[in-house]
Symmetry: C2
């Protein structure tokens, strides 16, 4: 039976007590982590969000009634206890914050009983995630998840305090907005008042924050809920949170400066990590050349080397044909891995094929300086020596080469480098390597759509010096766009926006938008820009990812209170679900059976 | 033509400059509020979010090129200017923060030109709201709206800082949740992955925050976006923001205490108002009796008086039949309004009828002590004297009476009292009268559904002493529920929740829920409560309303960046809108034409 807490008031959370409180009378409340009866003395570990505290019940102290209740205690019962703080009679428990004390109980109330939970509430649970997510309210009791969510709360509070201090205004933008079919798939919300019309949930507040700049708010931020109806991956959720900001009268340097200081503050306060400023910068071009990635992980080396020049005259047809087709030959040096067994190398070759490689050439340097090489018969010894020299190969090293179009080579070697680092356990979670990647291409060519598409979005400002290239060689135009990368994860990104009507028009022209289409999709923004728009720029962080990196979690699900699984459903609420037909009728919509849907397609 | 700001960096916002800066070289940027050429000297009022600054252009200082540009300046052009701060040569403008200085420009760049706006950008705009909302990006440039949104930002930041300090964790809850048909109408979101299934947007995070308590988070808060698909009123929006909180191991006093301190802090920092604690409390019963309202406006008196006993033996049939039908006769004294012209009294009678009154009895006391009374012929002079005495009537007063069922009498007189106060201009916006209304009825009888419904929600805790009444007289049971009222507006409310399975079961029984129905609708909450739920309680503020009251705005639309109008549409974005048929196909839904919808209903 659940008792009320009438007349009782909690005096402390569990770990707010310590040896300084010895002798005090206290009232604590929380969950029974475990309880055991040892020769007529009942020991209870009491848990709240702060941690664990040991309680001791002896009938002589707490009386028969409380003692009888204490005998009934089981895991996850909720109790209130009054008692006196004492030095621990047994050995001090060094693993507990409160390990030097215990509470000698004189009164116990059972505020709520508990059935046996379907899995134990414990750190680093081994329970299958699906079961944990069905009972998320129990899973959320785990101390590690609680720490994650407490950290997330601190990140939010610190971020807001910092940005407010820097003159940013927190402004809420609507989430029932207009659908713009460009970009990812929108979640739609049928309108009841306007039958046949729909709102969309925002993929980001991009257009609205640009409008706020146009309206003179100067500096905006928001921890904004965003929505994308995409197929989910490990680090994706249908709804996610962005730390979103926009600044007026600024250029790239201003945005980077304020964000570097924000990151320094956050990582100091949250991770006790001293981030040295300025954060390293690298152009997109350099990042691709050196790491085969636009979000390089700088926790280890193993950089890509372009050996196209070295092998350009060799007879190895794989290298030769790659070069003839305008591609390149590049390699990485897995230092000290020369003795890697054939089986593991074969696995790497398979891994590489997953990223589009037709194969992977390798050359192991034995300790005696001789080579084991998958393509030695196609190259002269002096050519091999030159290649090894170009790669900085030393006895004991393993050289891996990809030859293909640049895009494939980068993808293969960029990922291979990460895979080897994982195998060698080089990716320490408490090592934070930050990087700005700058000067992204403005456009990328979409084979599928047979046109250029915006790499970021159509409002990204080209670099002034590349403006003349827009007509002649659009693929070469670099953008005033930047990403902040941490340990190989893109934590955020942004750009300077176009505020000049003529450049914006040119941009739409290159993207193949007619004036009508541009007006239809972005009309209110283009209209707004007719009335005096300031130069402006912005940036947004994926907050879930940021917190995940800070706490070293493996999944963003571990830093979200009620996450959804891969099929975008919530196992706990059983959402989405069927609804009352009356609700659909009110909205003037009906469900189209799948064979009907197919018919429509025909 | 728009110029870039390459090479320029803003040194100050407009009103960051003052006489202390005289002699300094500065760079300012903003919008041209107005510009005028006075005998070859161009005066420009530059505007940014901080305010206005005067610029002076003379060709001798700024050179021919800049001067030529300055001659072209028109309202809403965006410019960057460098120059030197000087004491103002003309008269000091006392209305401006920067009225004692001006900037003698030596360089001008036009960052963006502007077409002539469709309405002037000015404080307290007289422009029709629909036009302003269509061009909301221009409307948002008005200094009064900018002040409102800046205040809102401060409220958000201060609230979070305070609650974090008090041990609350900010935890985000999902907004794609399960639809529960109880309560207001849900906005639905069709699922693509699960054809025929829908998410709902949350009406509030109620169930999820209770789960967080069950999960041991102890104190939660969130500035939560909430959604209700209801017909809009002046103070309603389809999406709105709640300052939402929940606390474990607490009772009513704890919730009220922390919230009183929050309000004291907010109103001090934002309105410079010293809120005296504790805030006055009044039971729901007393609020109804004295003010005819569960959200009384305490900025003025004019309290209701129950005169049923006084008139119980009179022959006036209106009074008599009301009493015979179990109703009451109550009155208010509009002091000093005895000379109100008949026409105005008639208008009040009409107003009262709008709230269900069949009529309104009045008695005016002339300065000579005689009466003008609408029912004098039905009552003896001594009865009238007794009535006047009971109402505390003095020469020059106007007494107004309603006789009906209590519900009608309260509604009529409660609203009449407000209407008279409005007419007499008694409702000062900078006078803040706070009130806790407590001990709300747990249940109210719904004639429509012929059953009791929860006044707040089914998880509201009854007062312990009223528990025995649940079976015998459910309508009499009071709840541990409380509203915070400011100047007659319900700013927030909450309750202690039921954490005992037996009381919860009883509650569902009274509400006429079968076990199956309760499980279907609230299954995950009821399941969670089986595993040890702490006593908990919470409160939520309507943040839009709170800010509206703080800044003295007339509508919540004036404190929301991009509000929607009465038909739930956004005039600026033109949302909701029709979408691409492919989008609906992806979601397996179709629009049902209205005549089809009618057919379905038959």
């Amino acid at each position: 039976m659940a008792e009320s807490m009438a007349g009782l008031k909690r005096s402390h959370r569990c770990t707010e007590l310590g040896t300084a409180n010895i002798g005090e009378k206290v009232t604590v409340m929380g969950w029974v982590q475990k309880s055991r009866n040892k020769g007529g003395i009942i020991f209870v570990d009491l848990r709240d969000r702060s941690g664990i505290l040991q309680l001791i019940f002896e009938e002589a102290d707490c009386g028969a009634e409380s003692f009888a209740k204490a005998e009934k205690l089981r895991s996850e019962f909720v109790i209130a206890v009054t008692g006196r703080v004492e030095a621990r009679s047994g050995a001090v428990n060094e693993n507990l914050k409160t390990g030097a004390i215990e509470i000698r109980a004189d009164y116990l109330r059972i505020l709520a009983e508990s059935e046996t939970p379907p899995f134990p509430i414990e750190e680093n649970s081994k329970t299958k995630e699906d079961l944990r997510l069905k009972y998320r309210y129990l899973d959320l009791r785990r101390p590690d998840i609680q720490r994650n969510l407490m950290t997330r709360s601190r990140v939010a509070i610190l971020t807001r305090a910092f940005l407010a201090e820097e003159g940013f205004l927190e402004i809420e933008t609507p989430t029932l907005i207009k659908s713009t079919p460009e970009g990812a798939r929108d979640y739609l919300v049928p309108s009841r008042v306007h039958p046949g019309s729909f709102y969309a949930l925002p993929q980001s507040p991009q257009l609205l924050k640009q409008l706020l700049m146009c309206s003179g708010y100067d500096r905006y931020f928001q921890l904004a809920r965003c929505y994308r109806d995409e197929d989910l991956r490990a680090d994706r959720q249908p709804e996610f949170t962005q730390i979103d900001m926009e600044l007026s009268f600024v250029d790239v340097e201003d945005v980077l400066d304020v964000n570097e200081r924000l990151l320094k503050k956050l990582f100091k306060e949250i991770c006790n990590y001293d981030l040295q400023l300025p954060i390293q910068r690298m152009t997109w071009r350099e990042a691709m050349d050196r790491f085969g990635s636009d979000k390089p992980d700088l926790r280890f080396g193993m950089e890509l080397k372009n050996v196209s020049d070295v092998v350009k005259d060799c007879e190895f047809v794989v290298f030769k044909s790659a070069l003839e087709n305008g591609g390149s030959v590049r390699g990485i040096n897995a230092e000290g891995q020369g003795a890697m067994p054939r089986k593991k190398i074969d696995a790497l070759v398979e891994y590489a094929k997953g990223f589009g490689a037709k194969g992977l050439a390798y050359l192991a340097i034995h300790e005696d300086g001789t080579y084991k090489c998958s393509f030695s018969k196609f190259m002269k010894p002096e050519e091999l020596d030159a290649l090894v020299a170009a790669m900085g190969g030393k006895p004991g090293d393993l050289l891996l080469f990809a030859a293909d179009k640049d895009k494939v080579v980068f993808d293969v070697l960029g990922n291979l480098r990460l895979e080897i680092a994982r195998q060698l356990d080089l990716l320490k979670k408490d090592d934070f390597k930050f990087l700005w990647v700058t000067e992204f291409p403005l456009l990328e060519y979409s084979e599928e759509e047979d046109r250029y598409v915006a790499m970021h979005h159509p409002f990204t400002m080209p670099m002034e010096e590349d403006l003349p290239l827009i007509d002649t060689d659009p693929g070469k135009v670099r953008a005033k766009a930047y990403d902040i990368v941490l340990n190989g994860t893109e934590m955020g990104g942004g750009s300077v926006r176009i505020h000049q009507a003529d450049i914006q028009e040119k941009m739409f022209e290159v993207l193949g938008f007619t004036k009508e289409k541009a007006q239809e999709q972005f009309g209110f923004l283009l209209d707004a820009f007719k009335y005096g728009v300031p130069p402006h720029a912005g940036l947004a962080y994926g907050m879930d990812r940021m917190v995940m990196l800070m706490v070293g979690a493996d999944s963003i699900r571990d830093v979200i209170a009620f996450p959804k699984v891969k099929d975008a459903s919530c196992l706990m609420m059983e959402a989405p679900s069927q609804v009352d037909p009356k609700q659909l009728e009110d909205l003037s919509i009906g469900v189209v059976e799948s064979d009907e849907a197919e018919k429509t397609e025909e």
